[in-house]
Amino acid sequence: MKKSSKKLIALISTVVLSVGMFAGCGSSATEETDSSNDGTTKEETGKTEEIALTFPCIWVGSDSKAEVFGKMVTDFNTEYEGKYQVNIEEQTDYDAYEDKIRTLISTGTAPDIFTVKSFADIQLFAEAGNLMDLSTFFEDSAIGDRFITGVLDDTAIDGKMYAMPYENAIIPIMYNNKLMEAAGVTELPGSFDELWDACDKLKGTGVFPLSEMTGDNAWTSMLWYSYAVAACGGADVYDKGLEDPAFVEAAEILRKMFDYTSSDAIGADATVVNGHFFNERSAVYTNGTWILGRIKSEGVAGLYDSLALSGGLSNDGENGGAYLNAVQAYICAGKQEDPAKEEAVQAFMKFITEKDKIVELTNSSGSLFAVSVDSTEITNTLQAEIVKQSADAAFTIRNFNAAMPTAVGNAFPSALEELVLDEITPQEFVETLQKAAE
């Protein structure tokens, strides 16, 4: 073969390889352009245009809400056939989903409908100007009255609504009555002083009185801190900011709680904490209603039936009976240029917050929602009791992570470890959180 032919073959091979490598990218980009079409997807169906909404959804697959929520979407599509169509994009990895939403928001291509779990993220997305303003939607009393008291006010940002509160976390304090009675504790504690007395008695029987953890996001201990903050500062403690002395006082209480917990609490994650409570190694625990199903299926025989529930404890005779109640998932919508599409989003939000649908979703999943339902309609007795106790509570208050910026929640576990290891004082613990808030 001549030298010039070799060169020609080399040149052709290189060009073919390069084109081949980029061919995939090229075609998908074209497809994407065709389907996304400046963020508005409309499908021709006869004479009228059907508005299609994209909804990357996490309530799919093995999620407890998947079946009933999926049915709700199908019912919506049937009811609005030819007018609106919600297309679910299944998202099974929540971290990947969060990354995807952030990327789409930052590039100005937010999905039509999506869920966000952190209020701090909603504030950030709203600041970027990529969320649909839902204020007029909630001004309609027929919509606004569907939600539990105060939850819409908590969701407002500078008087505007950029998200719809949906899944709600109601968090009781859970006691293993069998262990409590065995230790001679016949009444549930109503104050922190009574809790310490109960802890001393429980410790004497060889169980860990309290469940605590510092691993991951220190969820259980963060909830205990939230209850302590509520007891020390009252209903409006978060409005006063981290400078309020209640946060230091609550840190002292939290520090004392670690004297009554397991030796593996530092570094323990949810698996460890759950393991202790489910196996009756610890007696007092706090978590959301979603854990009830697991207590029933994974807990030792009789544990579920011996559960006793209560709201928060008082401190120095004040602020007892609080209930932790925070939105776990918000539904947001990407900013729309087309008013018809805004109407489609609102129609969907209206549809999925109808009371009978929420009751069905509650009963099927074990989760609770920001839409007000009558506790008598909830089939699970413990769940119904929690809803009732929360409704009758002296006051409800968000948990610490829900009320604070993301960075504060992220700083909490390591600050807690320093506090528990006596490397910092309760005052310094709060200062660490303040620094994170900056």
Binding site: T406, N410, S414
Partner: protein, 289 residues
Amino acid sequence: MKLRKGESLGVILFLAPALLLFVMFFIYPIFNVVGMSFFNWNGITDPVFSGFENYKDIFTDKVFIRSITNNVIWALAACCVQVPLALLMALILSRKPRFWQSFRTIYFLPQVISGIAIAMLWSAVFNSEFGMLNGLLKMLGLGKFATNWLGNPKTAFACVLIYGLFYIGYYMVIMMAGITNIDESYYEAAKVDGASPIQTAMHVTVPLIRYSVHTCITLAAIFGLRTFEQVYLLTNGGPANRTSLVVLYLYNQMRDNNYGGANASSVILIVVGAIVIVSIRKMFKFEED
């Protein structure tokens, strides 16, 4: 070898696709990281130029100082303990004692098992309530030494480090491959001179596999500097940031939506990595071909 006139075009064209991808996915991101380290950016709103503010913040952050210190300790331990351990195993197994193939497989096994599975295993070993280590201590009557190994600031870093040091199989295999390539005549000459097995290993084998040793030390140092998975899974940097590492630190910066700070810590890690690689290269002083 010098290229003949006219061949350069072909070489360039063949290299172009790979070079293009390398520039797109490695060189460009590095420049981007360096550039963004001078901005305050939450990942959503527009970045704001902040000069050296991010660098100032991380150098005054005690968690970052602890993280970089831990990384240096980790890299040193990898070079000074892990590689010599791997060399020792390679020297022993290359003499092909009984069951040497089984041992080679056993030592290499951690490399092919999921890090998550191994971390779960070690987590169970170190657990203070039902862990194997405390159980063993109690059984031996040393119960007073039982502790929350991963939750105790005095023991946590040593525990994650020890767990990391068990990954010797990779380096061992590289050095065994080097030993296999040594000409038999060197050993015969050593035998004629009456060298003991230890003398043969020290004066024949080790000098002849110095390139492999250099490769292993470089890799160990790099892996030590970029370690993340083991610490993230076992302690997540705790207790009280005692086991934090730079990659974990920058991951946490991203979780806090502080992408400027994350980029600045990445730049520092790149610089430290470059210094370490150059230092190791200088230390070995190889003659370039």
